[in-house]
C-alpha cells in the first residue's frame, strides 16, 4: 500500500493515488466518480485552492509511492490509460490501443500530438526513458517493482546489474511500444494505470532530474506555474497545448496549499483562505458538520483495515479460534463510538467499488458474542486465556484496539496485553514470521482498482502475508495453494470480467480459512467552500480536481 499522506492519520488514510479523473470535458458531471456532491456547471476558468501534505517527489515520478505526490503527478503527467473506478472500463489516454493476444506480449500504440510542457514530443522513447529509469536497480526508485513482471527486470537489479534497459520493452517505431511479460497477466493494463510508475520522461528531465523535481516537466493537462514552494504551496496552471479534450481540466489554476497539520487547514478554511479541505481532522468533524452541513462530501475510500493471525503459532491454528475472535468484535459499535462513524464495517474482504465485490459474504464478520464464546470453548481456549495484540503505536490505533480488546475480554473472558511499538520495529517483528504471537493490525490502500490488488499483495507469495498462511506445519498449505491457483487463474483470464469468478473464489477461501479478521473500509470527509462546484471523489482516486469548477 502506498503511504497515506499524513502519518498522523494512519488510522484514517486520507486518499489513495491513481488519478483516474473521469471524463468531464464539457460538463458531463453524471460520470463523476462516486458521491458527486454538488452539480458542476462545467464552467471553465477561475482558480481554487485545495489542501495537501508536502509531496515526496515529482522527478523521477517513480520515486513517488504515496497518495500526496501521485495526486499531483497524475495532473501534471498523462499516463497510457486510466481506469474508471465505477465501471473498471479502461479509458485510454496517451495510448491509442493496448492489445495482447496471449496476455503475455502486449502492443501499445500511442496517440500522436502530445507534447511535454517544454515542447518535446511524447513518443515511445519518452516512455522507455521513464520505465528504464524506474526499473534500474541502482536508481533505487520506490515503484520500480511495478515492472517485475516484465522480461529482463531481474537483470537490472543488484549492485552491478547486467542490463541498463528492460529487455522485454521495445520501441518498434515512434508510436509503438512492445512489452513482453514473463508470463500471461490479464491485469497488466490495470498495473500500467499507476501513472507515477509508468509516466513518460522528458529528455530535459533525464538530463537534470533535480531541476525537474523542483519544476516538473510533464505531458499532462496541467503544468507547474512556478517552482515547487516546499512546505508552502504548489500552483498548477492549465497547459495551453494539451491536445486531449476529454482529460483536460476545468479550472485555469489550482493551488495546492501544503499543511503539516490537518487541523490548521480547517481553520484556514474557516478564515476563507482555502476552498477544499481534502480531509477534515476527526476532532473537527462534528464542528464542521454543524457549521457547513451541506458542503461536506463523505465518500467511500479504498482503505481496508484488518487483523492478521500468526498461523505459525499453534494457538491460532484451530479455525474455530480465529472465527471466535472475529465474531466477538462489534464492528459497528467501535466505528460509531471510537472512530466517529468514518468507516464501513467489512462484510467481505473486497470493498464495494472493486469489480467482483459482494456484500455479506463473510459469515464470521458479524457480531455474535454467544456463538463466539461457544467456538472459543470448542477450540480449547488460548493458553492462559491470554491474547497478545500487536499494533504500531504511531498511527493513532490505540483507542480502537483498546475497544476491540475490551470486547474480547467481555465476550470471551480473556485477558489481553498490548505489544505496540513504532512502525519500523513493528514491521521488523512481523517480518521475522515467528516473533509475533498474537493478532496483528495492518491496513491496505489499493494501487489499482482490481480485486487482484486486494488479494495477491496481502495474502499471496512474497507479500504482506506475515501470518505465514500456507507455511509448513500450519495445516493451511492446501488452502493457500488453492488460493494462489485461483488468483493465477484470474490473472490469466483474457479480460477482467472473466477473471472475476476466480478472484471471488479466492476471496472465499480467505474467508473460509479466516486468515485475517476483516474489520472495515474507510470513508473520506471532504469539506468545500461555496466558491467551487462539482467536488467529487472516487474511491481509488483522490478528489477529482479536474472536474471541479469555480463559481464566478
Amino acid at each position: 500500500m502506498r503511504r497515506p499522506k499524513r502519518l498522523a492519520t494512519f488510522a484514517l488514510p486520507v486518499a489513495t493515488a491513481l488519478i483516474l479523473a473521469s471524463c468531464s470535458g464539457g460538463g458531463t458531471e453524471e460520470e463523476g466518480g462516486n458521491g458527486a456532491s454538488n452539480e458542476s456547471s462545467g464552467q471553465e476558468g477561475g482558480s481554487f485552492s485545495v489542501s495537501t501534505a508536502e509531496p515526496e517527489a515529482f522527478a523521477p515520478t517513480s520515486a513517488c509511492y504515496s497518495s500526496g505526490c501521485s495526486q499531483i503527478i497524475s495532473m501534471v503527467w498523462t499516463g497510457l490509460l486510466q481506469v474508471d473506478p465505477e465501471t473498471t472500463d479502461q479509458q485510454l489516454r496517451m495510448a491509442e490501443s493496448i492489445e495482447s493476444e496471449d496476455g503475455q506480449n502486449w502492443t501499445i500504440k500511442l496517440k500522436d500530438g502530445f507534447t511535454f510542457h517544454n515542447g518535446e514530443p511524447v513518443n515511445a522513447e519518452s516512455f522507455l526513458r521513464g520505465w528504464n529509469y524506474a526499473a534500474y536497480g541502482p536508481n533505487a526508485t520506490q515503484v520500480g517493482f511495478f515492472f517485475d513482471k516484465v522480461q529482463g527486470y531481474d537483470d537490472m537489479q543488484g549492485k552491478n546489474p547486467k542490463a541498463k534497459t528492460l529487455a522485454g520493452v521495445k520501441a518498434v517505431d515512434d508510436l509503438t511500444i512492445e512489452v513482453a511479460l514473463n508470463e500471461p497477466f490479464s491485469q497488466w493494463p490495470m498495473v500500467m494505470s499507476y501513472t507515477p510508475a509508468f509516466a513518460p520522461m522528458a529528455k530535459e528531465c533525464e538530463a537534470d532530474i533535480k531541476a525537474c523535481n523542483e519544476m516538473p516537466i510533464g505531458n499532462g493537462a496541467y503544468q507547474f506555474a512556478e517552482k515547487w514552494q516546499h512546505n508552502q504551496s504548489i500552483t498548477l496552471e492549465k497547459f495551453a497545448d494539451y491536445p486531449d479534450e476529454e482529460s483536460a481540466g476545468l479550472a485555469d489554476e489550482i493551488q495546492f496549499k501544503i499543511y503539516g497539520d490537518l487541523k490548521t487547514a480547517y481553520r484556514d478554511f474557516q478564515a476563507g483562505n482555502l476552498d477544499i479541505v481534502d480531509s477534515v481532522d476527526p476532532s473537527q468533524r462534528l464542528q464542521a458538520e454543524g457549521q457547513y452541513g451541506d458542503q461536506i462530501l463523505k465518500a467511500e475510500s479504498g482503505s481496508y483495515s484488518y487483523f492478521g493471525f500468526p498461523l505459525y503459532d499453534e494457538a491460532f491454528q484451530d479455525i474455530k479460534m480465529r472465527q471466535a475472535l472475529s465474531l466477538a468484535i462489534d464492528r459497528q459499535a467501535i466505528i460509531d463510538r471510537v472512530l466517529n462513524g468514518d468507516y464501513e464495517p467489512a462484510t467481505g474482504i473486497l470493498p464495494g467499488f472493486v469489480p467482483g465485490a459482494r456484500e455479506d459474504v463473510c459469515e464470521f464478520c458479524e457480531y455474535d458474542p454467544e456463538r463466539a464464546k461457544q467456538l472459543y470453548d470448542e477450540a480449547g481456549g488460548l493458553p492462559g486465556d491470554r491474547v497478545h495484540i500487536w499494533f504500531n503505536n504511531d498511527g493513532g490505533h490505540e483507542q480502537w484496539v483498546q475497544a476491540m480488546a475490551q470486547g474480547w475480554q467481555q465476550d470471551l473472558g480473556i485477558d489481553f496485553e498490548f505489544e505496540s511499538m513504532p512502525f519500523t520495529p513493528y514491521l521488523g517483528a512481523l517480518g521475522t514470521r515467528s516473533k509475533v504471537d498474537g493478532p496483528y493490525r495492518l491496513g491496505w490502500l489499493p494501487d489499482y482498482p482490481s480485486p487482484e490488488n486486494y488479494l495477491n499483495p496481502i495474502y499471496g507469495a512474497g507479500s504482506s502475508n506475515y501470518g505465514d498462511w500456507g507455511g509448513e506445519g500450519t495445516g493451511t498449505e492446501e488452502s493457500h495453494q488453492k488460493f494462489l491457483e485461483l488468483v493465477d487463474q484470474g490473472n490469466a483470464a483474457p479480460t477482467v470480467e472473466e477473471g472475476i469468478p476466480a478472484y471471488q473464489a479466492a476471496a472465499d477461501i480467505v474467508m473460509d480459512e479466516m486468515v485475517v479478521i476483516p474489520l472495515w473500509f474507510g470513508k473520506t470527509f471532504i469539506l468545500y467552500s461555496d466558491n467551487v462546484e462539482g467536488v467529487a471523489y472516487s474511491p481509488l482516486d483522490q478528489i477529482l480536481l479536474k472536474q471541479v469548477s469555480v463559481v464566478s
Binding site: 502519518l7 515526496e56 520506490q142 508552502q232 481553520r267
Partner: protein, 333 residues
Amino acid sequence: MGRYTIRRLLHFIPVLLGTMFILHYLQTLSFQISGNPIRSLFGDRQPPQETIDALTRAFGLDDPCLDQPGNPCIGMYFERLGRYAQGDFGTDFNRQDVLDLITRAAPITVRLTLLALLFEAIIGITAGVLAGLRKDRFVDNFVRLSTVLLISVPVFVLGVLLQILTGLYIGNWVRDLGAPPWVEAIFSVTYQADHPWASLVVPGFVLGGLSLGFIARLTRTSLIETLRSDYVRSARAKGLSNRRVVGVHALRNSLIPVVTYIGIDVGALMGGALVTEGIFNIPGIGGLTFGAVRQGETPVVIAVATLLTMVFLVASLLVDLLYAVLDPRIRYE
C-alpha cells in the same frame, strides 16, 4: 578579550565532535535495534527485497555494522565527518539535499525567533522593571499574576486560542473591513509566504510567551535584589538622580541573569518552535525536525541537531562577552 574569544572558539571543536558522535551512536543504535527504516516507507505493502536493498544502498545504510547491536560504527562516523567538512550533508529519503531543506527552513525560524525575542525582551524586561520598582503595589501584583498565567498555560493551548481569536474572530472581521494586506496577514490563521514578517507576529508572541513570563519575573527579582545593595545606596547618597541610579547602576547589573537566560533561550526557541510552527503551519526548522524524527530520516535529524548545537555555542559565547559590557567588574584576559 580577543584571546578569550579564540580560546572559547577552540572549545567548540570537542563539543561539536562529541555531540555528533552521540547523535551518530544513537542513530546506529536505533537502526541496530528497531531495524531498517526503508521498509516502513512502503507502509503495509511488502516490497520486493531487491527494492529495499537498492534503497538501502542508495541511502548509505548498507554498512554491515548496522546489523551488529552495540557496534558504534566508527567508520561511518568519520565518513560523515569527512562529508560534513566538504559541505555535503546528504539527502533525506525523498532525495532532497539536507542543506537545501535547512536553508529553506532556517530563515523562517530565525525570523520567528527574532520576533519572539523582541516580545520577550521589550515586554518582559519592561514589565519586570515596572514591577520591581513598585514592589507589592498594583503593577507588581498585576505583572506577577499575569506572568504566572502565561507560564502555566501550555504553548499549544495558548497557540490555538490565539490563533482562533486573532485569526478567526478578529481576522474575519478585519477581512470584512477590507484592511490593507499586511494587516490582514497579521490576523491570518497561517504563515503567508507573501508577508514573511507580518504573518509571524502572532506566532512570535506565542513562541515567546513562556519566556516572556520568566524574563519579567527574573528582571523583577533581580532588580529588587540590586536596589537593596550597598553600591546603589552609595549612589543615592551621592545625590544621583533616581533615573541614573536605576537606569545605569542598578538595571545594568540586574540584567546579567536575564541576558544569560535570553542567550540560552535563542537555541531553545529555534529548536523548540516545533509546536508553534505546527499550529500556524510555518515551514521552519521545528517542523523539519519533527517530520524527520517521525520518518526516521536520520541525516536530517543529525544535520539539524549539529546546527542547533552551533547556535547554542555561539549564543552562549555572545552572552559571556555581553557580561563584560554589562558589568565592568568582569574582565576577560
